[in-house]
């Protein structure tokens, strides 16, 4: 059971960062996953008063505050248009509307969970993260880092011209995914990001130029086999590694076919 002795609604990021340096203190996002742990938190640090619950859209980028809910991502018309619906697809299977009204982008990304739909989608879209102390870096790099006491302030999504398709496989509706797969094509390069392996999402680029001449049934299959060869999968109570590797091939092929043949 989660216990909290003190609660501070942070008045600035500086204050939140300072408090967060103590091991027994924690930043609470949506608190949905944290609530499942038997943690004894000395001071819960709440960022909800810092105006970080907004999606700002400029002609160049989206700036998504860490306290933006998954439901906001799902309903944002600019994100829907830019991602051709893949953003909505990546979150709409996560439990229910009530859950997605609470779960935050910051909590989902900072946790770098091995079941995360959100991490998979943003990585594939080439997003960057802005850390209070660490500054900006690609989400792909951030996903490989160890946990520390920094604060994820926002996620930045540059508006590169790109196509994206998101797919996931679940044993039952609203459950954790057995596998997640997001495929994007920008500057004529295709990248597949595979998550819920069940481990942190990884990006596999088409270094062999298998899709260089466009997406056909044969080239999509070849790239799907290539991705499956390069992704390590594991077993848990939801699925075995062998089944997950099979899903890597199926979902990658389908996602590539969803991209269509025309490059942007």
């Amino acid at each position: 059971m989660l216990t909290i002795q003190e609660y501070v609604k942070a008045e600035s990021l500086e204050q939140a960062y300072e408090l967060n340096q103590k091991k027994t203190n924690r930043i609470i996002g949506g608190m949905l996953w944290m609530k499942m742990s038997p943690l004894n938190i000395r001071t819960a640090i709440d960022l909800s008063g810092l105006g970080l619950d907004k999606i700002e859209e400029t002609p160049e980028e989206f700036r998504i505050g860490c306290m933006v809910s998954l439901r906001q991502l799902e309903l944002h018309p600019g994100l829907a248009a830019y991602t051709q619906g893949s953003m909505k697809e990546s979150v709409r299977h996560i439990v229910g509307v009530q859950f997605r009204n609470l779960a935050t982008v910051g909590g989902s990304i900072f946790g770098r969970f091995g079941f995360s739909d959100v991490l998979t989608e943003f990585m594939a879209l080439g997003a960057e993260v802005e850390l209070f102390q660490g500054g900006r870096m690609s989400l792909e790099e951030f996903s490989r880092r160890n946990y520390d006491n920094d604060i994820l302030v926002r996620v930045i999504l540059k508006k590169f011209p790109q196509d994206s398709v998101y797919l996931s496989m679940r044993n039952t509706q609203t459950d954790f995914p057995v596998l997640t797969c997001a495929v994007t094509r920008r500057e004529e390069k295709v990248c597949a990001v595979i998550g819920a392996r069940p481990a942190r999402a990884v990006a596999i680029y088409d270094e062999a130029d298998l899709l260089k001449n466009g997406v056909t049934d044969a080239s999509a299959r070849a790239f799907a086999d290539y991705v499956a060869e390069h992704v390590v999968t594991g077993s848990n109570k939801r699925a075995q590694a062998q089944y997950r590797t099979h899903l890597v091939k199926v979902l990658t092929r389908r996602a590539c076919q969803g991209l269509g043949g025309e490059a942007k």
Partner: protein, 154 residues
């Protein structure tokens, strides 16, 4: 910590523990419709509206509700009674345990999207688990209610 929460139009000021969950705060203030189910943020039984949006009260700290407006089924009697009759007509309430959460989320759906199609209804209510009805009766009840609303408007 001292909080001020507006529950069904009534302003409540109280000193609460930092880890008191909203569900427990609401139940101790005359809202027994807010049910404790899975406690893993999955079943939707504890659904309430926070500033008009459906949330899981088992997963919100009361201190986070400070300054916010909360609505439970107790505060939406009239709206719920009208809709509830259509659910009862289908025998879809069955054991009744999931009903308050289901009703709250359905009412949130109607506010957000007054004319949802079948797919939109299923998607919006996916986070409300029911172990008796198989969901078909609930879906029929919702569709009949929406049809009745449309006819009443004309």
């Amino acid at each position: 910590m001292k909080v001020t929460v507006t529950v069904n139009g009534r302003k409540i000021q109280e000193e609460v523990a930092c880890d008191l969950l909203l569900i427990d705060f609401l139940r101790s203030h005359g809202c027994p419709s807010v049910k404790r189910g899975c406690e893993t943020s999955n079943c939707g039984l504890c659904t309430v509206l926070m500033d008009g949006k459906p949330v899981l009260s088992c997963s919100v700290l009361t201190v986070r509700a400070d300054g916010h407006v909360i609505e439970t089924l107790e505060g939406l009697q009239e709206e719920a009674e009208e809709f509830g009759a259509f659910i009862a007509d289908q025998g879809a309430e069955q054991c009744g345990f999931c009903n308050p959460g289901f009703m709250m989320n359905a009412l949130a759906l109607f506010r957000e999207n007054p004319d949802p199609n079948e797919e939109e209804i299923k998607e919006y209510l996916a986070g409300n688990l029911c172990r008796c009805s198989g969901y078909e009766g609930q879906l029929r009840g919702i569709l009949n209610f929406l049809e009745w609303k449309k006819e009443a408007k004309q």
